[in-house]
């Protein structure tokens, strides 16, 4: 029940999936909100600290999730060959976009060699050996584009799952809600 089976995801994959849903949506909203805050807003600094901390925690969760996914079987996909191919492509893109989003965020804040504090608990150092010219600007622009691309992919992914659940009635969504015994 913790591990995936042929017909359903296990608890580990389900919890990891929904943790990231919450984390990614919250970070996205926070990111849009915090850049609109002005200098004298109480949360001007705190919002950014939280965004950075959360991003690095999500990177950690991402690593665990990818490791779990690669070391575990995945339940069979419903749908036509093309649908399966599309679903697989979107899944891969979701993983890659999330990784790129976290990396570009990290590159903004570490552009000057500063480390990032994760909830004031641990410090993630900058990788000064990979720094480049105008790093914070380029990484910032890319971070923005990737964030919106990820949201687009998320929408596609969610709509497809809902369509399969409601139109095809093939249990695509429930697979990711509760494990099913084989």
């Amino acid at each position: 029940m913790v591990k995936n089976s042929k017909s359903s995801y296990g608890w580990a994959a389900i919890v990891l999936h929904w943790l990231m849903v919450v984390g990614v949506f919250f970070s996205f909203g926070l990111g849009l909100y915090m850049v609109e805050l002005t200098y004298y807003d109480t949360w001007y600094r705190g919002s950014l600290e939280l965004h950075k901390s959360l991003g690095l925690v999500l990177l950690f969760v991402w690593l665990i999730r990818v490791a779990w996914r690669l070391s575990n079987e995945s339940p069979a996909m419903a749908g036509t060959v093309i649908e399966k191919k599309a679903a697989h492509t979107v899944h891969t893109l979701l993983y890659l976009l999330m990784l790129a989003l976290m990396i570009t965020g990290y590159l903004i804040s570490t552009a000057d060699g500063r480390s990032i504090e994760v909830f004031s608990l641990i410090e993630i150092p900058a990788m000064t050996s990979i720094s480049f010219e105008n790093q914070e600007d380029i990484a910032g622009d890319v971070h923005w584009v990737i964030a919106w691309s990820l949201m687009l992919m998320v929408a596609l992914h969610a709509l497809a799952a809902i369509k399969h659940q409601l139109v095809n009635k093939d249990g695509t969504l429930t697979k990711m809600i509760r494990p099913k015994a084989d």
Binding site: T38, Y40, L48, I108, S109, D112, N134, G140
Partner: protein
Amino acid sequence: MKKTFLTAVTASAIALSSLFSVSAQAADYQIDTKGAHAFVQFKIQHLGYSWLLGRFNTFEGDFSYDQAAPEKSEIEIVIETASIDSNHAERDKHLKGSDFLDVKKFPKAVFKSTGFEVKDDNNAVVTGTFMLHGVKKTISFPVQKIGEGKDPWGGYRAGFEGKTTLKLADYGITYNLGPASANVEIHLYVEGIRK
């Protein structure tokens, strides 16, 4: 006959070379940004409790200055706004963005002098147009000559400093940094190498 010709050639050669040396005497200087003997610094209050300092790393310029006729002095300096450096990447990113310098839209800040009012041997007031954030304004500020003379490597140098205070809102930069931070001081230190 031959001798006369030679004399003529020599004479004109001397005349010509002196003509060249006269033009070399023209007091045109290139600001030594290559050797980083020039600085565009800024200073602004933080919350009214302390100062924040930064600089523009990339700029170039020329000036002309002749001790014999200082009132004819001119200076032009072009600053790459994206080169702002306050020693903090996140802040620099914000300063380069649309809340402040908007460097994508306004990549250059330019000062071009229109007048030079001599006060004494080393002091003058320079007037000119300053374009920042797409806004052009006429400003005047005092400049001081620090010194001039031969350098140890065969060149000739002259150096000046100047300081002015700009109201950010005058240049359309209206982001609220608090009442103590409405103005920014610009400190200019330039050393020119005579061309």
